[in-house]
C-alpha cells in the first residue's frame, strides 16, 4: 500500500471550549443539590462580587 496523505478533512469540527459548565442535562430537581462551587462558578460569570458569604478560610466550629 502506497503512502497516503493523512486523512484530515474540512469537516472536522474544531471547538473553542468555554469556562461555562453545561448545566442543561442537570434536572431542576437536582440543581439545589449541586455543589455550591458549581453554582457559584455560574454566578461568578454574571456577578463577580457575589461570592458565597463564607470564604477566605476555615470557620470556627460553631453555628455562628
Amino acid at each position: 500500500m502506497g503512502w497516503r496523505a493523512m486523512q484530515t478533512t474540512d469537516s472536522i469540527r474544531v471547538d473553542v471550549p468555554s469556562k461555562l459548565a453545561d448545566l442543561r442535562p442537570v434536572a431542576f430537581k437536582e440543581l439545589p443539590g449541586m455543589a455550591s462551587v458549581t453554582l457559584d462558578k455560574a454566578v461568578q460569570r454574571v456577578l463577580p462580587g457575589a461570592s458565597p458569604a463564607q470564604s477566605g478560610g476555615a470557620f470556627f466550629n460553631s453555628s455562628v
Binding site: K29, M34, A35, G56, G57, N61
Partner: protein, 818 residues
C-alpha cells in the same frame, strides 16, 4: 521578622467565663484544661478597650476587609446587656474606617430575651444557639446544675429569633452529636426550628480520651450522620448543614467551610476574659494549658499571636498533617479533622483524627450518594462554540448556529442562576418561612415540568428577563444590594420577598403552557399579577392602597383543565388556557368582584423572517439604562409592527449578513420611553439575552440601525459569559474615540463591537443609495470606520486582553479593514 506571617480575621472573644448550664459534654469545664477556674468572670472595661484597639491595629496592618468577632463564653449573655453594649460600641468605634465588623454571639439561649435581641438588632449582631435536638436529646446533656431541663427556654429563644422582627439575627444552631439519640428525630426537630444553618459537632475527644461509642462498629458517628445526610439530600438540602456542605464543596474543589474539615488555613485567635490570647479553645480537651500562647492584649499584638507556632501549624495545609493523612485519598475533604482531635500524648498532634474512621466513612458516603450530575462537576462538560462560529462572531457577524450556541449557553447559565437563587434564599435569614414554603412549592412545580414537559418549560425559561430577575435576587441575597425599579410605573414596594415570589410566577407560566394542574402564590407587583412570557393581570384601584399595607399583596394562580384562575383578595378572574398561550385571552371577572382587572397579553410582532415579543409588561424589563415605556396602546403596537416590518425588509435587503443572527436570537423588543430631546436611544443588557430595548425612532432605517447596533451587545454579552476575553481586574480607563469619554476595557470592547455593525450599516447604505444620501452615508461610514479602527488598536495595545481576547479583536480589526 518584619512582616507577620498570618492574619487573624476571626476573633473568639470570651465575654464571660462562667455558664448558667452545666452540660456534661462541655469542653470548657469538663475537659483537661481547667484554666477557667483562675479567670475573672467577665471582661473588664480595660480589657474591652485594649482588645478593640488590638483588633483594629491588626486589621489595619494587614489591610483586612472585614473581621469577624464571635462573642463567646462560658455563656456570653451572663455579661449583661450594659457590658455587651459597651463592648460592641468599643469594637465598632475602633474598627470604624478600618474594616467591616462582622459580629456574632454564640449562646445557650436560656437568657435570650427581647432586650438582648433589640441590642443585637441595633448593632447587627447575629446569634447562634446550642441545642442538641428534641427535648429528650437535649436533656441528655444540656441541663442546669440541679438537673433541670433547659429545652423549653432554648426553644423559646429560637422562636424569638424566628420572628420577622429578629429573623435577620438568626445565624444557626449548633448540635453536639450523641449517637444514642435518633438521628432523624434530631434532624427533624432542628430543621423544624428553621435555622439558616446547622452545625453538627463531633464530641471533643483525643486518642487519650476517645469518644464514647455505643456499638462495635468502627464508624458509628459516620453512620449516624449518614442517615441525616440521606434524608437531607432527599429533601433537596432545605437548609445549610455545614458539615455536609463543606464535604460537598471540597469534593468539587471548593473551599472547606469549617475548621473541623479540610485543608484551608485557620486564622483564628481566642481572647479570654482576662485579656490573654489563646489558640482555638477546643484544644482544652488535649491537656491542661494546651491553648495557651503566653501572650495578652496589654503586652502583645495580634501580629505576634499570628507568629505563634500553634497558629502557624494550622496554616500549612497538607504539609502540616501526619504521613497517614497525607497519603489518604480523602485528605482534601477531611484535612485530618479538627486539630484538637488528633492529639495523643507523646506524638502530640501528628496523628490522624481520633474520628479518622468516621471521617473516612462519612466522606465516602457523601461522595457516593451525591447525584451523578453533582459528582461529575469537576469534569462537567463546558459549553463550546465551533471555531468557525467563534471567528464569525469575532468578525462582528455570526449566523444562526453561532446564535443557537449562545442561546444554549444562556439556558445553562439561567439554570445555574436559578439554582443559586433557590439555594441562597432557603438559607438566608432574611427570608421568612412563608416565602421559603412558597419557593419550595414553586421549585417542585418547576422540577415536575422539567421532567414531564421540558419543551413547555424551555419556552418560559427562554424569556430574556428571567436572568435580570435572578441577578436582582442574587444581588440582594449575596451583595445586600437593595431592590430597585427604574421605571415610573415601578413605584410599588419591591422587596426581596416580592422578587423571590417571582419564581412562583415563572412556575405558573410554565404550568399554564403545559396545562399542568397546580396552585401557586405569586406576588402582586406594580398593581399587577405577572406571568412571564404571557402577560399580566393589571388590577384597578384598591381601597387598601400600598401605603397602608404592611405586607406586599399576593395572588393565587390556579391552573385547572382548561383555565387559569387568578384570585386576589376576594376578587377572582378566569382565563382560558388556549387563548392565554396564544396571546388572545381575556380575563373574565367572577361576579361580585370588588376590584377591576384587565388581562394584558404579551403581543407578538410578526413578519416574514421574524417573530418578536413586544415586551411592555414584564416587571424586570427595567434592567436597561433607559426608562421602559408603559403599556402601549393598540395603535402604538400597530405602528411598531409596521416599522419593524419595514426595518426588517431593509436589513434583509441591505444587511443580509446580519439577518440570520437577528432572526435566530432577537426574541423581545422592549419599547423605551421617548427621551425629551428626541434623540435615538436603545440598549441591550447582559442580563437579558435576546432583548433589545428601543425608543421608537423616526424611521425604519433608524430602527434597523439600532437593532443591529444593540444586538451586537447581546452577542458580545453572551460571549463574555462564556469566555474570558479581558482581564476583569484591569480597571484602567482607555480613550474611546466616539466621544463617550474614557472607558474600562469591557466597555470599550462592547462599544467597539457594537460600532462594527454601525460601520457596516453605513457602508451598505452608501452602496444602496444614490446622490446626496449616498454621499452622506459615505461620510458616516468613513467616520465610524476610522473610530472603530482607532478603538481596535487601543484594545490591542492595552495589554488588558487575554490571548483569546486578542485573537477576537484581531478578527474585529480584519472586519474594519476590509
Amino acid at each position: 521578622m518584619d512582616r507577620p506571617l498570618v492574619s487573624l480575621s476571626q476573633i473568639v472573644l470570651k465575654v464571660h467565663s462562667r455558664c448558667d448550664l452545666a452540660c456534661d459534654h462541655c469542653y470548657v469545664y469538663e475537659a483537661a484544661d481547667q484554666s477557667w477556674r483562675s479567670r475573672p468572670g467577665t471582661l473588664s472595661d480595660e480589657v474591652i478597650a485594649q482588645t478593640a484597639q488590638r483588633i483594629a491595629e491588626h486589621a489595619s496592618s494587614h489591610g483586612l476587609p472585614a473581621v469577624q468577632v464571635i462573642l463567646h463564653g462560658g455563656e456570653p449573655l451572663l455579661a449583661g446587656r450594659a457590658r455587651l453594649r459597651r463592648l460592641i460600641t468599643a469594637l465598632h468605634s475602633a474598627l470604624r474606617g478600618v474594616c467591616d465588623l462582622d459580629l456574632r454571639i454564640h449562646t445557650n439561649g436560656v437568657l435570650l430575651n427581647d432586650d438582648f435581641c433589640e441590642l443585637f438588632a441595633e448593632h447587627g449582631v447575629r446569634v447562634g444557639i446550642s441545642i442538641d435536638g428534641d427535648k429528650s436529646a437535649n436533656d441528655r446533656h444540656r441541663r442546669y446544675a440541679d438537673g433541670r431541663s433547659s429545652f423549653d427556654k432554648v426553644v423559646r429563644a429560637i422562636r424569638l429569633l424566628s420572628t420577622d422582627r429578629f429573623r435577620d439575627l438568626y445565624a444557626g444552631l449548633l448540635c453536639t452529636i450523641d449517637t444514642a439519640n435518633d438521628p432523624l428525630v434530631v434532624y427533624e426537630s432542628l430543621r423544624d426550628l428553621q435555622p439558616p444553618r446547622i452545625d453538627f459537632l463531633l464530641p471533643h475527644a483525643t486518642w487519650d480520651s476517645p469518644p464514647f461509642r455505643t456499638r462495635a462498629t468502627k464508624a458509628e458517628y459516620a453512620d449516624w450522620l449518614a442517615i441525616i445526610f440521606d434524608r437531607w439530600l432527599a429533601e433537596g438540602r432545605p437548609i445549610q448543614i455545614r458539615t455536609f456542605d463543606s464535604i460537598i464543596s471540597t469534593l468539587h474543589g471548593g473551599e472547606n467551610l469549617t475548621e473541623a474539615l479540610g485543608l484551608g488555613p485557620v486564622g483564628l485567635a481566642v481572647i479570654e476574659t482576662d485579656g490573654t490570647y489563646e489558640q482555638v479553645d477546643s484544644l482544652k480537651v488535649a491537656f491542661d494549658g494546651a491553648p495557651e500562647t503566653g501572650m495578652n492584649v496589654f503586652d502583645h499584638s495580634l501580629d505576634l499571636v499570628g507568629q505563634h507556632p500553634g497558629v502557624i501549624a494550622r496554616q500549612q495545609g497538607i504539609a502540616g498533617l501526619c504521613q497517614t493523612c497525607q497519603e489518604c485519598p480523602v485528605v482534601g475533604s477531611c484535612g485530618g479533622g479538627l486539630y484538637s482531635h488528633r492529639y495523643r500524648k507523646g506524638s502530640g498532634f501528628a496523628n490522624p483524627s481520633v474520628y479518622c474512621a468516621d471521617l473516612l466513612a462519612l466522606i465516602s458516603h457523601v461522595s457516593s450518594h451525591l447525584p451523578a450530575e453533582t459528582t461529575a462537576a469537576p469534569g462537567r462538560p463546558t459549553h463550546v462554540i465551533q471555531r468557525q462560529d467563534f471567528q464569525a462572531l469575532a468578525s462582528g457577524l455570526g449566523g444562526a448556529t453561532a446564535i443557537t450556541s449562545l442561546m444554549e449557553a444562556e439556558r445553562s447559565l439561567l439554570r445555574g442562576l436559578m439554582g443559586a437563587v433557590y439555594q441562597s434564599a432557603l438559607s438566608a435569614p432574611s427570608v421568612v418561612a412563608t416565602v421559603r414554603t412558597e419557593l419550595q412549592v414553586a421549585w417542585s412545580v418547576l422540577s415536575t415540568l422539567d421532567l414531564e414537559q421540558p419543551e413547555a418549560l424551555d419556552i418560559t425559561l427562554a424569556h430574556p428577563y428571567l436572568r435580570a430577575w435572578a441577578v436582582r435576587c442574587l444581588e440582594q441575597l449575596r451583595l445586600d444590594v437593595p431592590s430597585r425599579g427604574a421605571a415610573e410605573e415601578f413605584c410599588g414596594p419591591r422587596d426581596l420577598s416580592a422578587d423571590l415570589g417571582h419564581l412562583s410566577a415563572i412556575a405558573a407560566a410554565g404550568a399554564i403552557r403545559s396545562r399542568m394542574g397546580t396552585c401557586l402564590t405569586v406576588p402582586v407587583v406594580n398593581s399587577a399579577v405577572h406571568l412571564p412570557t404571557l402577560g399580566r393581570l393589571k388590577l384597578g384601584s384598591d381601597e387598601g392602597a400600598w401605603a397602608t399595607r404592611h405586607e406586599p399583596e399576593k395572588a393565587r394562580v390556579s391552573v385547572i383543565t382548561n383555565a387559569a384562575i387568578i384570585r386576589v383578595g376576594d376578587s377572582c378572574w378566569t382565563l382560558d388556557l388556549p387563548g392565554l398561550v396564544a396571546g388572545e385571552s381575556c380575563a373574565t371577572a367572577v361576579p361580585g368582584n370588588t376590584r377591576c382587572g384587565e388581562w394584558q397579553a404579551v403581543r407578538m410582532l410578526r413578519g416574514s423572517g421574524f417573530c418578536v415579543a413586544l415586551e411592555d409588561t414584564d416587571p424586570y424589563r427595567d434592567c436597561h439604562q433607559w426608562r421602559p415605556a408603559p403599556r402601549l396602546t393598540d395603535d402604538e403596537v400597530a405602528l411598531w409592527q409596521r416599522e419593524l416590518q419595514a426595518a426588517w425588509q431593509e436589513i434583509e435587503r441591505e444587511h443580509a449578513e446580519y439577518a440570520p443572527a437577528l432572526a435566530a436570537g432577537l426574541t423581545a423588543l422592549t419599547p423605551l420611553a421617548a427621551p425629551p430631546d428626541g434623540r435615538d436611544v436603545s440598549a441591550a443588557s447582559r442580563n437579558a439575552f435576546g432583548a433589545v430595548a428601543i425608543a421608537r425612532p423616526a424611521d425604519p432605517a433608524g430602527l434597523a440601525r439600532l437593532l443591529m447596533l444593540d444586538f451586537q451587545r447581546v452577542k458580545l454579552g453572551a460571549l463574555f459569559d462564556l469566555y474570558d476575553l479581558y482581564d476583569p481586574a484591569d480597571d484602567r480607563l482607555f480613550h474611546a474615540p466616539w466621544g463617550e469619554g474614557k472607558q474600562q476595557v469591557e466597555g470599550l470592547l462592547q462599544s467597539t463591537y457594537a460600532y462594527l455593525a454601525v460601520t457596516q450599516f453605513w457602508r451598505a447604505r452608501q452602496q444602496f443609495s444614490d446622490g446626496p444620501a449616498a454621499e452622506s452615508a459615505g461620510q458616516h461610514f468613513l467616520r465610524w470606520r476610522s473610530d472603530a479602527a482607532k478603538a481596535v488598536e487601543t484594545l490591542l495595545d492595552s495589554g488588558a486582553l487575554t490571548p483569546l481576547g486578542t485573537s477576537f479583536v484581531r478578527q474585529m480589526r480584519h472586519s474594519v479593514e476590509v
